[in-house]
């Protein structure tokens, strides 16, 4: 593979560990391979503690992996100060809480110009700052130059943070929960802005979130992370319309919606990265195991004892990159059978309803006829 057609960002078998209490080790990122192509939006989804923020920090060079490598445009990222500074001109970060990300005693202008100064970017600073603010939807930009963070709204603050990142014209933006601290009405505005930036500047975005709705709103692809690993990955349509991993299914089922069908609430919270379970790391919470389905399929022992990697999901379209790490998904013939059963049940449902409606209609008709007959009889 040459540098030209390499993905923009390529992570290979990344492992990041932290020392934890009582001499234990937290395996925060435990073997992740992931790539981001130029100009695409990839959503990295998972619960708190699944390692997604650590992975984002690793991409930015804020954490060094103990194993594996981060490649940017085909080249391995180096961690000396000069190389890192150059790298960060290309890869910028947007944090969750814009109020915390901005210095309260810095004006909007200073906040956006800071990156230019650190990177010693040449050109007319004022013009660059104005252009970045305008592109982030703060118009006219001059009106915002002298304002302090407390003088603008939460949505405007996040726009300033984004302008501060985009002023360097990066190739990749890593956004960690960019809208989770914002109001519902502002949320869509910021997501629209991010999508617009991708279209106008060709920047790629890796967005870290627990919000699957956000992925549906802006992401080309989704990667689902659980306890330090990617457990399912595919295009947004594939992954959210036909999720295969039981964890993805559960996550999707608890998105609040008005007419909810059967939320699959997993007990407990994301488990402890200092004690990653044997076998499939999801098995202690897995509904397929808990319901006895895994046992019926004859895979329970493997779920409990055999670790596994991502593999193409059976039945995916040709050329699809939909992958999952689940024994049940890959058990030959089993899942298809289970799904066929589910489909049959689903198909039977409207059928039964239609039959019931028909029967009811017939009953009504009969009743009407009887009444008419009665009326005739009375007349007679």
């Amino acid at each position: 593979m040459t540098a030209a057609d390499a993905p923009l960002l390529d992570l290979r078998d990344i492992e990041v560990r932290f020392p934890a209490r009582h001499g234990t080790v937290a395996r925060a990122v435990d073997g992740v391979s992931l790539s981001v192509r130029a100009g695409e939006v990839l959503a990295l989804v998972g619960e708190s503690g699944c390692g997604k923020t650590t992975l984002a920090r690793t991409i930015l060079g804020l954490e060094r992996p103990r194993a594996g490598e981060v490649r940017f445009r085909g080249e391995r990222v180096r961690y000396d100060a000069r190389a890192l500074r150059r790298y960060r001109r290309e890869v910028q970060m947007v944090f969750q809480d814009p109020t915390g990300a901005l210095n309260a005693r810095q004006t909007v202008y200073e906040a956006v110009a800071e990156g230019l100064r650190i990177q010693k970017v040449e050109g007319d600073e004022e013009q660059l700052v104005a252009a970045a603010l305008a592109r982030s939807g703060l118009r006219p930009p001059e009106r915002f130059f002298g304002l302090y963070p407390y003088e603008i709204s939460g949505g405007q603050r996040q726009r300033v943070v984004i302008a501060g990142a985009m002023v360097l014209e990066p190739e990749l933006l890593v956004a960690d929960e960019p809208v989770s601290s914002l109001d519902a009405s502002v949320r869509g505005e910021i997501l629209q802005l991010m999508l617009g930036l991708v279209r106008e500047t060709g920047v790629a975005i890796l967005v870290v979130t627990h919000d699957l709705g956000l992925a549906w709103n802006i992401a080309d692809r989704v990667a689902v992370m659980y306890l330090g690993r990617i457990v399912e990955q595919g295009t947004t349509e594939e992954l959210l319309s036909s999720p295969r991993h039981p964890y993805t299914r559960a996550l999707l089922s608890v998105v609040p919606e008005a007419n909810h069908r059967d939320p699959q609430i997993l007990a407990g919270e994301a488990p402890d990265p200092t004690r990653i379970p044997s076998g499939c790391r999801f098995h202690p919470r897995c509904p397929v195991v808990a319901s006895g389905e895994a046992e019926r399929m004859g895979i329970e022992a493997r779920c409990r004892g055999e670790d596994l990697a991502l593999e193409s999901v059976p039945g995916a379209a040709a050329g699809s990159a939909h992958v999952a790490a689940c024994h049940a998904v890959h058990a030959p013939g089993r899942v298809e059978a289970a799904e066929a059963r589910a489909r049959a049940e689903a198909a039977a449902l409207p059928d039964a309803q239609a039959r019931a409606a028909e029967a009811e209609a017939r009953a009504t008709e009969a009743e009407a006829e009887a009444r008419a007959a009665e009326a005739r009889a009375t007349e007679a």
Binding site: Q156, D183, N217, E237, E257, L266
Partner: protein, 399 residues
């Protein structure tokens, strides 16, 4: 309106008037006092909440929804001006003496806030914190059993093992702390639970756990819940009825499924569209937001306060005296679009920022304070009620 029994011996407020709604908020106005003049945060809100019912209250930051919760619980800063009525089992919370208020809080109504880390005492075991609430209110849940037993029971009720009582808040995760807060709120068997963004800082899975818990508690104990959040989809999933606030007023209410599926107010529509339906092509690569920011309560736009941000604005909106009008079965909306004819206009003389069209039927009772929230200090200061910490006038004639 039922007459409030005015004695401390009346027992639990919830038992005073069995037929009345458990909570009835009538024409509530709240105005914060600041160095730069009053800030009218709530400008005439009325609603009822029956025992066992869940009402969702939605709106952006600054719409007044948390102020409303604070006013119901009487938790607002000293000097805040509150008028109208908050009838809990027929008894006006705003008129309660401190002793009565202390008795009613926790035992009749309790609140769960967002951000459990800041609400719990970091240097006290969580069991002790719950036990304290029980000891302060003996006879209401606490007196019946030994306190530690009841603490364990409460923790188990919210899905935590009883041994967690020995933990300090930092030893618990965010979701577990939020459960402790709910256990604390439920300690004295309240009739009303006010939940102010109880799941906002939580992960999806934990949020689902907490929401299911609230739903179960409501079903099991007939708890009335006032659920406040900016996330309309959460409310639609949890609440039977929904009210949407904007600029200090309710602008739409009705059955939650109907309101969410076919909003009558453009503001509700924007909030509903903010959280996409996953799988719906209409939302794919198409995030939907609402331009602009909520208005400054001290300088509200004329006419309908939403008109500068409204995607469906009409020329008349800047002059219309909007109020809640019927908008279908069990529904109301404060938007000219639900009217058949032309809307009433703001009186010419009264035009200007912050003016409310209709003062409402109670207007005569308190023209000084209630009607024109930001109308200079003059009428406000002259009328006298400013000396009162909480509401002392503006209610209906006292019994």
């Amino acid at each position: 309106m039922s007459v409030a029994p005015d004695t401390e011996a009346a027992g639990r407020a919830g038992e005073a008037a069995p037929d009345a709604p458990l909570l009835s908020v009538r024409d509530l106005h709240v105005s914060y006092r600041t160095g730069s003049g009053p800030i009218p945060a709530v400008r005439g809100v009325s609603f009822d909440l029956a025992a066992g019912e869940t009402l969702g209250l939605a709106g952006e930051s600054g719409c007044g929804k948390s102020t409303l919760a604070g006013a119901i619980m009487r938790l607002l800063p000293k000097g805040t001006k509150v008028t109208g009525e908050v009838l809990l089992g027929g008894e006006d919370v705003l008129e309660m003496k401190p002793g009565r208020l202390r008795a009613v809080r926790w035992t009749d109504m309790a609140i769960v806030f967002q951000g459990a880390l800041h609400t719990l005492n970091p240097v006290q075991r969580v069991g002790r914190q719950i036990g304290e609430a029980l000891e302060l209110h003996p006879g209401e849940g606490g007196g019946r059993r030994r306190v530690p037993d009841r603490v364990g029971e409460l923790l188990e009720l919210v899905g935590l093992p009883a041994r967690r009582a020995e933990d300090y808040p930092h030893q618990l995760s965010g979701g577990q702390r939020q459960r402790v807060l709910i256990a604390l709120a439920l300690a004295c068997d309240p009739r009303l639970l006010v939940a102010d963004e109880p799941t906002t800082a939580l992960d999806v899975m934990v949020q689902a756990q907490v929401l299911r818990l609230l739903r179960d508690l409501q079903a099991t104990f007939g708890l009335a819940v006032l659920f406040i959040t900016h996330d309309l989809s959460t409310l639609a999933a949890v609440c039977r009825r929904l009210a949407v606030m904007y600029a200090g007023r309710i602008v739409e209410d009705g059955p939650s499924g109907d309101v969410f599926a076919s909003p009558a107010h453009p503001y509700t529509r924007a909030l509903a569209a903010a959280f996409p339906v996953i799988g719906d092509p209409a939302f794919r690569m198409n995030p939907s937001g609402l331009a602009g920011d909520p208005p400054d309560p001290r300088d509200l736009p004329s006419g309908c306060p939403f008109h500068p941000r409204c995607p469906d604005v009409r020329p008349v909106c800047s002059r219309a005296a909007v109020e809640l009008w019927p908008a279908g079965r069990g529904r109301q909306a404060a938007c000219v679009r639900v009217l058949d004819g032309e809307p009433p206009l703001v009186a010419a003389g009264a035009a200007g920022a912050g003016t409310l069209g209709a003062v409402g039927p109670d207007g005569a009772a308190g023209p000084d304070g209630a009607a024109v929230p930001d109308g200079a200090a003059g009428p406000d200061g002259a009328a006298g009620p400013d000396a009162a910490v909480d509401s002392d006038d503006a209610g209906p004639p006292a019994p």
